[in-house]
């Protein structure tokens, strides 16, 4: 014991000489026996141990020793073939562990989380809830802030968050716009009530005859029109062509009267919001999709937030095209009059809005608390302007700062209005100055908290930003005011309440977006020649599947193993077709119990995950293996050493990426990581870049000229997929299913520990330090249920010291 103490003290003292002595005793024997043979001055590896210093207060040195510890601890180093004495190794690990914990504790000085600010997303949701704004308005305000740094992990982590003059200017401008959006005085805006009967459409009249390129693709019917091709909707059917122009931003209700046309199977109508792009329109956001299963006319409806310049376009998806001569929209002949393929008939498109629940809106009446507004929408003061401003600052400030303000704070802020009032500018202009100041104040922008146990108010904020990604509501704030929130039972009750609230979907979405990188889902567009079945509908359904699956796991308190393997998922017909799951009708997402022989179930079978870990053309086991290691197991691999070229996918079909990787792994410097990275990647080779199950790779069919246009030829089937492999533990697997089993039997506790870690990092805004590892392991072990139910885990996280202390 005395010896251990000596080591710690020496390490803390920070002199290289003494550190060298400590390492001499503990670590050097291992280095000399098993490491320096490769990691020396002539090293081909990126690590030269003779050059690594001993000053763990230096962040880089600390990280290097941490990585050495982890790789030795996990048995990845020394590699096979290098002898290692277990006693020497354990002694070295013990010395290193103590030193790393000390260094970690020393650095943070009793405070895991430094002052962290609202992320862009938290800012958006907070403004939405604070000012009672539409979600879309909040989102646009968040998007106007500087982007969060792309540094891996969660954007809540204080040490990664930037602050700059650009931020400050953006906060001021966003606050200005937020207040403009919230304060709506004067007369209510006119509600637009628009309806187009397509049969009588002036814009379409020339389309019916089709004597020009791009025409002749819409068929006139007795009581509407029929459309057959999604390409046409970008320039024909949209609301701007029909003469609708949004005057006031807001929520609009969109309805259409539609039925199936010349079809025996269900067809899909889609509704998009977009903007005009020259002569065509972009279809930016899918606002609704509907299966039309019979020839009866029905009314479908969707809601959209629209701004001036926006349009609505109906379109079609996945209509079967018969054999034989096609309608050719690149030429005037062959128009739709004689076409026999599936289509959708539309009688009308109607758009109504903005939909106002009240006037002035809640955002205005809430903000102008204590002020009357007359029938003409003018403010009527009942006190002096300054007294009103004091009242508003006191009330609004407490919600914005998530704690009560002292009277001197209130005065200081309200006084900003004095010069404006003195200059005889309008009351609202005077009010806006202190409100803008509040929305740029450090007490609004940062999550406050002193070292030690969080106060009730600190706890209220941490909890609501964890599970709602936004400010605490009145109930949380009043519990904090009453000093009750730190009570274990009360806190657990609030966790239940917050998780059951609609706002918890924000948490699931942001967690999945960052932890499983679902935010990157639309980063690549699949090669249309190789993956013609890709479209927006599929992409949208993919994202929803993963979000709703995670929501269900939390809601039903299912075990963490369900992330790897589950007998259910969430599907609509489009995604069910993609997954080859029968019996799912309609375009709404619902929970589906999977057939026993389906390969689906669990995150690793979700098309979303397959897509974000592929580029548009091909897949590589490397990013997919890294996904499993980093996102699921929390053991990311270091980057490749400098000078190692990346792999080039070969879409000509002569070699598989697996062959290329085997060559790569022949290099020892590569093998030490790739023996971990490649196996999960190999198992996932059974899924193509858009998540389709495959037994053979697709090979590009090349292109051909069609008039002036180059079009892709159909793909062909290439080499077979080999999804087998051997894990670093020596377990062989013959395909994806077997690998799934191995993850469940061998890595369940790692999976649980990583999920708990991710939840703690997101909620506390601090990485899991070396000194926190035992606390996390203890949290998992303390659950008393070796399936690690996820809702229970959230409770454990919230009641842990990691969460409840700064």
């Amino acid at each position: 014991m005395r010896r251990i103490l000596a080591v710690v003290i020496i390490l803390l003292s920070g002199t290289t000489m003494s550190l060298a002595t400590a390492f001499e005793a503990g670590v050097t024997p291992l280095l000399e026996a098993s490491c320096l043979v490769c990691h020396n001055n002539d090293a081909v590896t990126p690590l030269n141990m003779t050059k690594v210093g001993h000053d763990l207060a230096d962040m880089n040195t600390y990280r290097t020793w941490l990585r050495i510890y982890d790789r030795v601890d996990r048995g990845e180093m020394p590699p096979v073939g290098i002898p290692v004495d277990a006693v020497v190794r354990d002694a070295a690990l013990a010395t290193l562990k103590r030193a790393l914990i000390s260094a970690n504790m020393e650095r943070r000085q009793g405070q895991r989380t430094a002052l962290r600010r609202l992320t862009r997303l938290e800012y958006a949701y907070t403004l939405q809830d604070l000012l009672y704004l539409d979600e879309e308005v909040g989102r646009a305000l968040g998007d106007s802030l500087p982007a969060e740094a792309d540094s891996g992990g969660f954007d809540t982590v204080a040490s990664k968050q930037g602050m700059s003059a650009l931020h400050v200017r953006s906060y001021l401008e966003a606050a200005d716009r937020a207040l403009d959006a919230a304060l709506k005085l004067g007369k209510p805006p006119e509600v637009q009530d628009f309806k187009s009967l397509y049969r009588d459409s002036a814009a379409l009249s020339y389309m019916f005859e089709g004597t020009f390129v791009g025409g002749g693709i819409i068929k006139k019917l007795d009581d509407g029109v029929a459309i057959f091709f999604d390409v046409g909707s970008t320039y024909t059917m949209h609301s701007m062509n029909e003469g609708f122009h949004v005057q006031t931003p807001g929520r609009y209700e969109v309805t259409a009267e539609v039925w199936r046309y010349q079809a025996d199977t269900p067809v899909i109508l889609t509704l998009y919001r977009g903007v005009k792009q020259g002569v065509t329109a972009s279809l930016d956001e899918l606002i609704g999709s509907f299966d039309l299963v019979d020839d009866e006319r029905r009314v479908v409806s969707a809601m959209a937030y629209m701004r001036p310049g926006d349009l609505i376009a109906p379109s079609v998806s996945e209509l079967e095209v018969p054999e034989g001569p096609q309608v050719n929209y690149f030429a005037a002949e062959h128009n739709v009059k004689t076409y026999t393929g599936e289509g959708i008939a539309i009688r009308s498109l109607a758009i109504r809005g903005p939909l106002l629940e009240s006037w002035p809106p809640e955002s205005t009446t809430r903000l102008l608390d204590g002020i009357e507004i007359d029938d003409d929408g003018r403010v009527v003061l009942t006190k002096t302007p300054y007294d009103h401003i004091m009242d508003i600052v006191r009330g609004f400030g407490a919600r914005a700062f998530r704690r009560p303000l002292s009277e001197s704070e209130v005065t200081r802020i309200a006084d900003l209005a004095r010069p404006v009032l003195a200059a005889k500018r309008p009351f609202v202009a005077a009010l806006k100055v202190p409100l803008r100041a509040i929305l740029s104040d450090p007490s609004f922008l940062y999550h406050a908290g002193e070292p030690g146990e969080l106060t009730d108010y600190g706890l209220a904020s941490r909890l609501s930003y964890f599970l709602w990604r936004s400010m605490p509501d009145d109930e949380l704030l009043s519990l904090a005011a009453a000093g009750k929130l730190r009570d274990q039972g009360v806190l657990a009750g609030q966790v239940e309440r917050l998780l059951s609230d609609e706002r918890s979907t924000r948490f699931v979405r942001d967690f999945a977006g960052q932890a499983y990188r679902l935010y990157e889902l639309k980063a690549t567009s699949p090669d249309g020649g190789l993956y013609p079945e890709w479209n927006d509908l599929l992409g949208t359904a993919m994202a929803l599947e993963s979000e709703q699956f995670l929501t269900e796991i939390i809601k039903e308190n299912l075990g963490v193993g369900q992330l790897v393997e589950a007998d259910f998922t969430f599907l609509n017909r489009r995604l069910a077709d993609h997954y080859d799951v029968p019996g799912v009708e309609g375009q709404w997402m619902r929970r589906v119990t999977l057939p026993a022989d389906s390969i689906r179930g669990g995150l690793l079978t979700h098309a979303s995950i397959h897509k974000i870990t592929a580029n548009g053309t091909g897949t590589s086991p490397v990013p997919r293996g890294n996904f499993v290691l980093a996102s699921l197991l929390g053991q990311p691999s270091p980057p490749p050493p400098p000078g190692i070229p990346g792999l080039e996918p070969d879409t000509r079909g002569t070699t598989t990426i697996r062959d290329q990787l085997s060559a790569h792994r022949a290099l020892p410097v590569c093998a030490s990581c790739h023996q971990k990275i490649d196996p999960p990647g190999f198992a996932l080779e059974s899924f193509d870049p858009i998540g389709g199950y495959r037994e053979k790779y697709r090979v590009s069919g090349g292109t051909t000229m069609f008039g002036d246009y180059e079009v892709s030829l159909p793909y062909t089937q290439g080499l077979p997929v080999d999804a087998s492999g051997v894990t670093p533990d020596g377990d062989e697997f013959d395909g994806f299913r077997a690998y799934q089993r191995l993850l469940l039997t061998r890595k369940l506790d790692l999976l649980a520990r990583n999920l708990a870690s991710q939840l703690i990092v997101l909620s506390t805004g601090a990485e899991i330090g070396f000194a926190d590892r035992e606390a996390v392991a203890g949290l998992i072990a303390g659950m008393g249920d070796d399936t690690y139910p996820v809702r229970d885990m959230i409770h454990e996280v919230v009641s842990s010291d990691l969460f409840r202390r700064q």
Binding site: L115, S151, S164, L172
Partner: protein, 423 residues
């Protein structure tokens, strides 16, 4: 070096207020005094093709002054005496969290972009921007063809968002608002000034009780508020000075994301205007991955997919069509900068222009052997300077040279091991 033209720059500008918009600073170092005009300001322009440039069509096989131009370079050959092609340059350790992360460090050279613990560092254009400050209406102009993502980072590693709308940019640069708009903006800035002053006080009062770690964060906030205050004062001062009037028609934005080339044309069209009105001396343009099939004849796959050609001939053919059009527009830009007189020479002579990519081989995401072209800047040109393909020379050595050419006293930047002589 071009000779002085008969027509002075100012005749391109309408008279009002222009003289004031052209403050002339002596920012030259003696080393460059021989080749450039002392009275005319130095400028910087950086353009990045983030999806790479196909190497076989870019990098010459031969070196020196009589290098044989490749397919792409032959497009630019009429300007041959005005630029230098450099090969064998790169930043080290550009493997990031994402394979395209090297685009965020092209102008900064920070290592391991996006990996755990990563923090970006200042980009060369923002260093230049800080150097010039508000001597022009805009210390720097940051442009992008598709999204607000840029390659311009502040000293604290915060990205400066890119302007994507040429019409908006034109309005900010050259168009005067209505009197009511100007009055409202002035009022907003003045309110903002008193708020910033108050915020600095709020931060100060919190600093008193904060822990060491929190104080660091509050310091950063406080400094940001102070800088914003200074900026605001400068912006207010510029509000009182009329904007330069230009003869050019305001551009109409191309709303179609697939119109990559059209958007590049619009942006390239504004660059000479920005420089000749001295609205800014520092411009960076990021040519993004648009994520769609670009409107280029004979192309039916998206550019990112094509950049991963995997040596598939049919893909390389399409890729070449896109990249050829980009280089053709660079040719037009070089021409436009050479046509306009500036000081004793041309705008190009006064501008250190960097064109290239953060990827050497985009198909494998390799950030080595980057395509690099330097034009103008008073350098000696007309050569292909090749460095070792296996042991690349730091691209930062070139950056040091570029910064020095602006009159900045720097002898190191990022990963530099010195400067790179272009004399």
């Amino acid at each position: 070096m071009a000779t002085r033209r008969a027509l002075p720059r100012r005749t391109f500008l309408k008279a009002t207020g222009v003289a004031m918009a052209l403050p002339l600073l002596d920012v030259m170092t003696p080393a460059f005094a021989r080749t450039i005009n002392l009275e005319s300001p130095r400028r910087m322009l950086n353009i990045c093709c983030t999806l790479g440039l196909y190497d076989d069509y870019w990098t010459p096989k031969t070196t020196g002054a009589d290098y044989a131009a490749t397919d792409y370079l032959s497009i630019l050959d009429r300007h041959r005496a005005h630029y230098t092609v450099l090969s064998g340059l790169s930043h080290e350790e550009q493997t990031g969290r994402q394979p395209h992360n090297s685009e965020i460090t092209w102008l900064t050279a920070a290592r391991h972009p996006g990996l755990d613990g990563f923090q970006n560092t200042i980009s060369i254009d923002q260093m230049a921007s800080n150097h010039f400050g508000y001597v022009t209406r805009f210390p720097s102009v940051v442009l992008g063809t598709a999204t607000p993502q840029s390659q311009s980072y502040t000293a604290s590693g915060v990205m400066t968002p890119a302007e994507t709308s040429p019409a908006t940019l034109f309005r900010k640069l050259f168009l005067r608002g209505t009197d009511a708009e100007i009055a409202e903006e002035a009022q907003r800035l003045s309110d903002g000034g008193s708020i910033l002053d108050h915020l600095a006080g709020q931060a100060r009062s919190l600093q008193g009780t904060a822990s060491a770690a929190d104080r660091q964060k509050l310091d950063a906030y406080f400094e940001s508020v102070r800088t914003a205050e200074n900026d605001l004062t400068e912006v207010q001062a510029w509000m009182d000075r009329p904007k330069p009037a230009v003869a050019a028609e305001p551009p109409v934005d191309s709303p179609d994301k697939a119109d990559i080339i059209g958007r590049i044309r619009l942006m390239f069209g504004l660059i000479p205007l920005i420089f000749e009105t001295d609205s800014s001396r520092v411009i960076s343009l990021m040519i993004h991955d648009h994520g769609v099939v670009p409107k280029v004849a004979g192309v039916n796959l998206d550019q990112h997919g094509l950049s991963h050609h995997g040596q598939d001939e049919s893909k390389i053919v399409q890729l070449k069509k896109i990249e050829t059009e980009i280089v053709q527009h660079l040719d037009g830009l070089l021409g436009a900068l050479r046509e306009r007189p500036d000081g004793d020479g041309t705008l190009l002579d006064q501008t250190s222009l960097l064109f290239g990519s953060n990827l050497g081989n985009a198909s494998s995401h390799e950030a080595r052997n980057l395509p690099v072209l330097v034009a103008g800047g008073g350098f000696k040109h007309g050569r292909h300077i090749a460095h070792d393909k296996k042991h690349n020379v730091p691209l930062c050595n070139l950056y040091v040279t570029l910064l020095q050419s602006l009159g900045m006293e720097v002898d190191a930047f990022g990963q530099s091991s010195g400067s790179l002589a272009l004399t």
